[in-house]
């Protein structure tokens, strides 16, 4: 049985679609059977980033409404990898055309055939978000080192917890080490102080991302891209949950660690 991941953020434009394309291509490059689902109905992008726009015939709404014979018909095979597929979002339909229950059913079906089902979530916390997370058992939160993006990520983590989806993992995107060092940007410690979730990895700000998105060739396949290298490492961590990138001591210790510190102070 494959795993179903949702890639989500709350705030828009932080790099969810880019992450989905890169993780999907990276996993496929390492031999995994992968299917990507774009749930950003009305604002479909994932096909562009993968360079598959001109192959679209059916879309997600057609699949869940049974307008095509089977999900197979709507699956677009990637140009580079035999084992990577995309179900594109509908461009001219409503978000309400898909329900969380339909997404659950679809994910249950797809995980029988694929090792990884990656769901690209739209921005926001409304209907589209609910659809995207419904069938997922794991979540990847994408954020940038900005106060507003981190605040929204925190909100999303709270909503996922409310749905019984704990232990989401974090991708910190568009990191500029120089600015972080000068204290001009939130540091990973600042961010983890609030979010306090496992870190999948940090992706640097990289022009190659923009160039590769425009060409429809994910950066993860470009050996000279720094962001690509970061995504290759993230793919490894995704495959093996024990490989974690930790910056702060583990969550579990937190409360008691703090309490001890507190009482140590009191006694002093």
């Amino acid at each position: 049985m494959g795993k179903v991941f949702v890639i989500t953020s709350g705030k828009g434009g932080v790099g969810k679609t880019t992450a989905t394309a890169n993780l999907g291509s990276g996993l496929a490059a390492s031999g995994e059977r992968v299917i990507l689902i774009d749930t950003d109905i009305g604002l479909r992008n994932l096909d562009l980033v993968l360079g598959l726009e001109n192959r679209i015939v059916f879309d997600l709404v057609d699949v869940v409404q049974g307008k095509c014979r089977s999900p197979r018909q709507a699956m677009i095979k990637d140009k580079r990898f035999e084992n990577l597929y995309l179900i594109p979002a509908a461009q001219s339909k409503d978000k309400e055309d898909v329900t969380p229950q339909q997404m659950k059913t679809l994910c249950e079906n797809l995980r029988r055939e694929f090792d990884y089902v990656l769901i690209d979530c739209p921005a926001g916390i409304e209907h589209g978000f609910k659809n995207a997370v419904a069938g997922a058992d794991e979540a990847v939160i994408v954020t940038t080192p900005e106060v507003s993006a981190v605040r929204d990520a925190d909100r999303i983590i709270g909503l996922l917890e409310a749905e019984g989806k704990y232990s989401p993992r974090l991708i910190l995107n568009r990191v500029r080490k120089d600015m972080m060092k000068k204290g001009q940007m939130m540091s990973i410690e600042d961010i983890q102080e609030i979010l306090n979730i496992k870190l999948l990895g940090m992706v640097p700000e990289d022009e190659a991302i923009v160039v590769s998105s425009n060409k429809g060739e994910p950066a993860v396949l470009n050996p000279s891209s720094k962001a690509g290298e970061a995504y290759r490492q993230i793919v490894e961590r995704m495959k093996d949950p024990d490989l974690v990138y930790t910056v702060k001591p583990d969550n579990g210790e937190n409360l008691f660690g703090r309490l001890w510190k507190f009482f140590a102070k009191v006694e002093a």
Binding site: R151, D152, D154, I157, G158, L159, E193, R258, K261, F263
Partner: protein, 245 residues
């Protein structure tokens, strides 16, 4: 009477028995009329609401409480025979009084007892929840209210809000909004292992986030002194807390 609402005075104060026969909308209307008509009677009273076996849909409960709240009604606690309603009340930080509705057990709704009459008998198993422990981090957008003392074992993140009729203690970082003594208790305090709230209120006093919050991670406590909020190191010598571990 006969409007589906019966008012009783009991050990818990004024209790409104709300017939489950009425729809929520009818109930809000009747309630509002009643409270307006007898406003002096209800002024500053804290009410106990008896919902009987009424089931609530998701969100209905908090919406209904919201209506009451905006009408200036303070709720001391509720009585209910419905397990889901009880759960919702618990989650909303509202005290559950007694074991269930008094409709089912002692009093029938068509036989109202004059206010002031003693209806609720002392029951040995009756528990008074005056403190609530919440064992999680409150994230942005999450609210936690309690009609007593509130303790959070976790953080209160920016964008999250905690409020309590009594004191608030956070075993973690308090970076969101905190309001202690929300019903006017000026002696309430807010304490945290790390006190960096966006906004902090005690009773009617407000303190906003500024550079003043301590940068070190030391436990601190906020309280009202001579009409304004002051912050001081929180040195608790009690062994009581230690026993929590």
């Amino acid at each position: 009477m006969g409007d589906g609402i019966v008012v009783k005075g009991g050990r818990e104060g004024l209790t409104l028995i709300l017939s489950p026969e009425l729809s929520l909308q009818e109930l809000s209307t009747v309630l509002q009329e009643k409270l307006l008509k007898e406003s002096t009677f209800f002024q500053n009273a804290e009410l106990v609401l008896d919902f009987g076996a009424r089931p609530f849909q998701e969100k209905e409960f908090s919406a209904f409480l919201g209506i009451l709240h905006s009408a200036g009604i303070r709720i001391k606690g509720i009585l209910s025979d419905n397990p889901i309603t009880k759960l919702m009340a618990k989650e909303a930080g509202i005290e559950l009084i007694g074991n269930g509705s008094i409709m089912s057990s002692r009093v029938r709704i068509d036989h109202p007892v004059k206010s002031g009459g003693k209806i609720l008998k002392e029951k040995p198993e009756e528990v008074h929840a005056s403190a609530l422990f919440v064992r999680k981090t409150l994230r942005s957008g999450q609210l936690q209210h309690f009609n007593g003392d509130l303790t959070i074992l976790g953080d209160v993140n920016p964008g999250a809000e905690v409020s309590a009729a009594g004191n608030i203690v956070v075993f973690g970082s308090l970076r969101g909004i905190a309001h202690a003594g929300i019903r006017g208790d000026q002696t309430a305090v807010v304490a945290a292992l790390e006190l960096k709230p966006t906004q902090l209120r005690i009773a009617d006093c407000i303190a906003r986030s500024s550079e003043e919050w301590n940068e070190d991670h030391v436990p601190e406590m906020a309280k009202i002194e001579r009409g304004s909020i002051v912050i001081e190191p929180y040195a608790l010598k009690h062994k009581v807390l230690r026993s929590l571990l």
